[in-house]
């Protein structure tokens, strides 16, 4: 597996690079679907001044690899990349990117949508929101 396909990192990622990486995994790629999660200015009516993401180093990366493995087994896709940032993230900045390549678009859409839901469900990453009321660890996965 190409090391660049799975990453938890402080710095921002390149969407172009991730999409191109999964596209070029095969000459048979006809479609790439990418999901980008970004930091919103409001959440449940509260203005968000900033976010802080924490993860379980080691375990979180293993869970992301496991999501990719299961996506490759269960969907008719060619490749999948999953990148997640941690540390301080400001409004408008990128948080997470999932890119799936396939011969046909339907498979890429399904795998990408499944993978972000699965990431939220299974990966030990936690978000702290800073609002006017202070800092709060978010305890649900919408």
């Amino acid at each position: 597996m190409d090391d660049r396909l799975i990453s938890i990192q402080k710095e921002d990622f390149s969407i172009e690079d991730a999409v191109t990486l999964v596209k070029k995994a095969s000459n048979g790629t006809g479609a790439v679907v990418a999901f980008l999660g970004a930091a919103r200015d409001f959440s449940k009516g509260e203005r968000i001044a900033g976010l802080e993401f924490e993860h379980y180093p080691g375990m979180a990366e293993v869970m992301l690899k496991d999501i990719r493995d299961r996506a490759l087994r269960n969907f008719n896709i060619i490749e999948m990349a999953i990148l997640h940032r941690v540390g301080a993230i400001r409004t408008g900045e990128n948080i997470v990117l999932i890119a799936a390549s396939a011969a046909h678009r339907n498979d890429a859409f399904m795998a990408c949508e499944w993978a972000i839901t699965e990431l939220k469900r299974t990966t030990p990453i936690w978000k702290r929101e800073t609002t006017d009321k202070g800092e709060v660890w978010v305890s649900e996965t919408p």
Partner: protein, 82 residues
């Protein structure tokens, strides 16, 4: 010696990032939880609420799973990545 790691809101409740126990023999996850509730009053409510997942050596573990010497136990509050 085992290492218990606290994450996210649990760090604030435990007022610690990690805690160590010397074990004379292997114990279950439920037995470890009882020790943590005794030693960290701030964790009692949340450990009773069943919203906390447990990992042993970075793999999800059930309440009957065995914790033995040198293990790393993670206390994982509900995830909010993505």
């Amino acid at each position: 010696m085992i290492t218990v790691r606290f994450f996210a809101m649990l760090k604030g409740l435990a007022k610690a990032d990690t805690h160590h126990y010397e074990l004379n023999s292997a114990i279950t996850v439920d037995e470890l939880k009882a020790m943590l509730k005794r030693d960290f009053p701030g964790l009692r409510d949340v450990l009773d609420s069943r919203s906390i997942l447990i990992s042993i050596n970075q793999e999800f573990a059930s309440k009957d799973a065995i914790v033995k010497d040198n293990d790393e136990v993670g206390l994982l509050p509900p995830f909010s990545g993505g």
